[in-house]
Amino acid sequence: MKRLTDERAKILFEHLSKYIGTNVKQLIDRPDGTYCFREHRDRVYYVSERILKLSECFGFKQLVCVGTCFGKFSKTNKLKFHITALYYLAPYAQYKVWVKPSFEQQFLYGNHIPKTGLGRITENAGQYQGVVVYSMNDLPLGFGVLARSTTDCKTADPMTTVCFHQSDIGEYIRAEDTLF
């Protein structure tokens, strides 16, 4: 477990702010103890300092995962969030998309959301805005990026993609081995 370099930390915070905006601060500035981001085998983990200290006992090779895995850095320094980050993204999300019950399964199989599958959407979301996807009874299902702005959605064809799929809770089964 090592500290993120300044460069990577910046990439991480920029990426986070795409989904949760100014709420990034809440992740660092927590009343219930110090939490920090750590890197281990190119993956970013969000850990409380208490757990981190305990993890010191283990060597690099023995350690698989500590805390919550937020995502993975590619070789070209691009960050991709894993579904495990949803636990922290969902409560702070500023822009949300709700899918219809009929489309929930499709989404959980990794498909983009077309307009027909769209139940509700937050007002004033721009194009390529990071959003958290919910089912109609407010259960977070995953996250993605808007392909159309909210206003464009209203006039779009029913079959056009409204939201690009990035990650969904189906990955807990589908990508079990690479998640953590």
């Binding site: 990034v24 920090c36 010191e56 007002e123 004033n124 209203k154």
Partner: protein, 290 residues
């Protein structure tokens, strides 16, 4: 008579030797007695300057010096140990050294106020920014110098090595913008005794550093998103129109649903904003939007 003439001639000669103490100038000279400085704003006489330069310049210097001495004599004088002493006033001209001792200080005094650009955060320290910019330039120049040396020696050398070949093993060399981390043998490895890995838990307040970083990320100047601006404007207009329509309980509004539309149409209320719109079909039901 000869004697008188001789005496007069001698007197004239003596007068010639001493030039007059009054000097005529087209423009008045600026005097700063505190630093014994005189500045002559008058133009040179071109012809004189060309024909007999040395004499002309010497004469000009004498005249100006005379002016300075005149001004000194106008000051209050006193006698100290058989010599006449004048007390000079405070200097009005401030020397700004072009280089060397106290130059940086003079520079600082020159830029005592800096403009904050309109798009910047009003709390940014523009002075610090200026210093940073300068440091970056220095670092860049240093690296270029190193690269030049390497090129001159015709050796292929990674930039990290060039960077770490200063007296302080590159410890104080700043990173270039967009500089990539060296793979393999980097600067860290070249510093004797330096650790490659940082400790997991740090003494430095990581939280503060992170918060600063977040602040800088969030404070990035937002690009003017035309689409978003238009959509927001549209939304505002629509809300205004809807509010207006609701405030207008006209007979027309009451009559309309009764007069027109069948029972079915009345029963099926339009879903504002939630319905799916079929672009081919023209919607008849629902409130007419103006």
């Amino acid at each position: 008579m000869d004697v008188v003439k001789e005496v007069l001639a001698k007197h004239q000669k003596e007068l010639d030797k001493y030039k007059p103490i009054t000097v005529e100038k087209h423009l008045e000279c600026r005097l700063d007695l505190g630093t014994l400085l005189i500045t002559d704003p008058n133009d040179f006489d071109d012809r004189e300057l060309r024909d007999n330069k040395e004499e002309y310049l010497a004469a000009l210097t004498r005249d100006n010096t005379q002016l300075l001495v005149n001004a000194i004599w106008e000051l209050s004088t006193e006698r100290v140990d058989e010599s006449i002493v004048a007390k000079l006033p405070e200097p009005t001209t401030k020397w700004v050294p072009t280089y060397g001792f106290k130059r940086a200080e003079a520079e600082k005094a020159k830029d005592w106020v800096l403009e904050v650009p309109q798009n910047a955060d009003p709390n940014t320290d523009m002075f610090q920014k200026k210093i940073d910019l300068r440091n970056e330039k220095v670092a860049k120049n240093e690296i270029q110098r190193m690269k030049n040396i390497v090129r001159a020696k015709k050796i292929d050398m990674p930039r990290s090595v060039a960077k770490s070949s200063t007296a302080s093993v590159g410890k104080f060399q700043n990173k270039l913008p967009k500089e990539k981390e060296a793979r393999g043998l980097g600067i860290k490895e070249l510093i004797p005794g330096g650790k490659r890995k940082q400790s997991h838990i740090t003494q430095t307040p990581e939280k503060e550093a992170n918060l600063d970083l977040i602040k800088s990320v969030l404070n990035k100047k937002p690009k003017l998103d035309v689409d978003k601006a238009i959509s927001m404007e549209k939304r505002g207009n629509r809300l205004a129109r809807e509010a207006e329509a609701e405030n207008e309980p006209t007979k027309k509004g009451n009559k309309k649903p009764k007069g027109k539309g069948s029972r079915k149409a009345v029963g099926k209320k339009s879903k504002g904003n939630h319905g799916q719109r079929a672009p081919g079909k023209k919607a008849q039901a629902g409130r007419k939007r103006r």
